[in-house]
Symmetry: C2
Subunit: 218 residues, 2 copies
């Protein structure tokens, strides 16, 4: 598949802009586990996800983490080009959760496009608005929702992403998604087990009462 | 003062764009306490703050609140024009904390400018990036900082805004800024008092050891 298939506003670009994108963009393989961006470093350009799964998160000085959002096929990673925006003053990390393949639009190419094309500039605004909305959703979750509901919602999300009711993830990993301590996740999962919602075994969690977990998440 | 003095990228507008802004923008007085935007309603356009103080916040279904950021003189309220951006999918409220005076750039005027001017489109991006950064700062505070440190930082911020060490605010109001319960604020303030940091009286809090509060906030 060509980049013309992935770049969302291709039909609003001029012929010259299309040529620039086609000539300078390239495909990159990112193995699962790779940290693409660590805090504020590594400003390689805009990434268009062809396949795989990326995770955007923040980390505390003590190494605690919380997931901000996930990027899936056809999503665009804006923060890999964040140095374009002087006003974006925060550290955000991005890592590949699965083997991923991305189109890379190099930073200077994307920057030149946003400076010449009002369509690209406004599209970039929409992109930033989407990420902003995901972070606002997260704040609302953190502020107004109890952790058992957030854990239930996370299990459902994972189950959807993996297309399986058996989730291969450690309590530590879940804690890093939710921004809490491993012990808290373990305690809540044991409570879920006692309620007949999940079955626990070493390194995996099986959802046995999906409807019950849905009720809890709401 | 004319709008040309307040609109940040005036020198990057064409003559026609300047005329459009000058002819259609108007000044509006907003008395302290006015809710300018309640959740997702009221999309009046871009507001440029001439004087006063606005507060952006979110509220839970139960009526709990947390302050996202404040807008002061020369700041721009982007969310009063949020319906321009399809991707901004969250409720955010804005209220005047002090008597305020704003330039209103009506929605259709600002929308037309962002569609024609790459400079305005990119400036809007910078604006959204600034607000995004403030919200990310808040997430980091909520996630990694204890509430006593956040309360200390809030008292210092208020003291700076009011240019006074005597703060006229109730425990309830502080709770709504920090997104917590009134009882928690009262308990923490009593602890601050026992440490000799503040003096408490009905409806006001006096900072008596500013350096001590600064040490706590860090």
């Amino acid at each position: 598949m060509e980049i013309s298939e992935y770049f969302p506003i291709w039909n609003r670009l001029t012929e010259a802009e299309r040529t620039m994108l086609t000539e300078h963009s390239f495909i990159k393989q990112i193995p699962a586990g790779t940290v693409i961006r660590d805090g504020h470093s590594d400003c390689m350009g805009l990434l268009l996800l062809r396949s795989g799964q990326l995770r955007a998160y923040i980390a505390s000085e003590e190494g605690r983490e919380i997931t901000l959002y996930r990027l899936l096929e056809r999503d665009i990673c804006l923060f890999s080009a964040s140095c374009m925006f002087r006003s974006l003053q925060f550290d955000l990390s991005v890592a590949a959760e699965k083997d991923s393949e991305v189109w890379v639009i190099p930073l200077d190419v994307y920057q030149s496009l946003t400076e010449s094309s009002v369509a690209v500039a406004n599209y970039t605004n929409e992109l930033m608005g989407s990420r902003f909305s995901e972070v606002m959703w997260l704040i609302e979750q953190i502020m107004w929702k109890s952790l058992d509901k957030r854990l239930a919602a996370f299990l459902l999300e994972e189950s959807g992403l993996e297309n399986s009711t058996v989730l291969k993830c450690t309590h530590e990993q879940i804690a890093s998604h939710l921004g809490t301590a491993r012990e808290v996740v373990t305690r809540l999962l044991r409570y879920f087990r006692s309620e007949g919602l999940v079955r626990l075994s070493r390194g995996s969690i099986e959802i046995v009462d999906e409807k019950g977990i849905m009720r809890l998440a709401e």
